[in-house]
């Protein structure tokens, strides 16, 4: 396992005061909080940061870590000394979820370290709820879809170590579900204590990026290329929608950026969303003599200055 340089993660010097550590943690926590940050690795960074802070904010743990870390650098292969842990007793309650921390952390502080959940200790309490994100395709929301979902769940093994286990569930994704909505699977969280009920599993729905449609709540947006003559003269053309191909009448005199609404063709529901079609004018390539002649003819025939409003 790798040695983790908690000081480097926290961006502080080895002789930083507890105040400096706290200030640095707060600043970085705001930067990398997964609910706030748009950085792609925010979640991993935030976890790492929480782990580093868990150790450095606690003078007992920090002293133990310092003693151990004298001969190590971040990323170096690490093996805890055989007599490790004998001289320290860790009494702290966890602010975070110890189950999320790295193997490195667990090997150092795992044995005597329990996350104190306070009132969970009663003998017949309901099990913990679990939360996970699920990626589905836009089409799944149109048809409703049976999906097999794999989850990695941290569980406690017989020795009290946290290990991750794969779990597979068959889930029916309801028709009309939208990004950001949640489905609840009752009783699929952690088992309860004593006669307590099992917790629930919450799945947050996210859509995969779609090659054609962009999604805003219930509404869909589609960029639709049309020819200059279709836009100018009007035409009835075929348009793909997730519910099937439909015929759309382009009004004559349409321009680039014209927005047409296909009512009720968005995500199903009551009311269903709409599908907005944004026109893009596609120019035929001038890659033959005939095509170039045609453009030349247009240049001669039209008295058209698209930059007239710019005064040039």
């Amino acid at each position: 396992m790798e040695f983790k340089d908690y000081y480097k993660i926290m961006g502080v010097a080895h002789d930083a005061t507890q105040d400096e550590i706290r200030r640095s943690y707060r600043k970085l926590a705001r930067k990398y909080h997964p609910d706030v940050s748009k950085e792609t690795d925010a979640e991993a960074r935030f976890k790492e940061l929480g782990e580093a802070y868990e150790v450095l904010k606690d003078t007992e743990k920090r002293a133990a870590y310092d003693q151990l870390g004298v001969n190590y650098k971040g990323g170096q292969e690490f093996r805890p000394p055989p007599d490790w842990n004998s001289g320290f007793e860790f009494s702290g309650r966890s602010a975070g979820d110890a189950g999320d921390f790295s193997d490195f952390f667990a090997s150092l502080f795992g044995g005597n370290f329990r996350s104190g959940a306070g009132d969970q200790a009663t003998s017949h309490s309901k099990g913990e709820d679990h939360h996970a994100k699920v990626l589905i395709d836009l089409e799944d929301s149109f048809q409703g879809a049976a999906r097999t979902i794999k989850l990695r769940v941290p569980v406690m093994d017989a020795q009290g170590h946290v290990v991750t286990k794969d779990r597979t569930l068959n889930v029916t994704v309801p028709r009309g579900i939208r990004a950001g909505q949640h489905i609840r699977l009752s009783g699929q969280g952690s088992p309860g204590a004593g006669q307590g009920m099992a917790g629930d599993l919450y799945l947050e729905i996210e859509f995969r990026n779609h090659p054609l449609y962009r999604i805003d709540g219930r509404d869909l947006y589609l960029d639709l290329p049309v020819t200059p003559w279709e836009a100018a003269l009007g035409a009835t053309i075929k348009v793909p929608t997730p519910g099937g191909i439909i015929e759309l009448k382009i009004p004559k005199g349409s321009g680039a950026g014209s927005k047409l609404r296909l009512k009720g063709r968005g995500i199903p529901g009551d009311p269903p969303g709409d599908c907005y079609v944004m026109l893009i004018i596609a120019l035929p390539p001038a890659d033959s003599v005939a095509a170039r002649d045609m453009y030349q003819k247009m240049a001669n025939e039209f008295n058209f200055n698209p930059r007239a409003k710019m005064g040039v």
Binding site: R26, D129, T168, L169, P174, Q181, H182, I183, D216, D223
Partner: protein
Amino acid sequence: MSTENNLPQFSICILEEQTQLTLDDLCHACAVRAEQIIELVDVGVLEPLGREPWEFGGASLQRARLALRLHHDLDIDLAGAALALELLEEINTLRTRLHAVGVED
């Protein structure tokens, strides 16, 4: 995958649209005491539907959890978390809208 058909099948509802949550449900799902949920109502993160006994819409759960996470992880009070939550929601709406009209941020 050969085991696929042996798995239990769940039919489920969309939380945001159907569920009416009680104060107890929220406490449990957020793993907090009732006082914290009441405080979330006080600062406007949660809005009960009607009078007591309180019931909350399905979307309340995620708002509550997000506000509590911000409160806990970033060491800000619930009023601050409420403000952050509102701004985050607004940013999210604007981002989605930008994306929908084809502008990537």
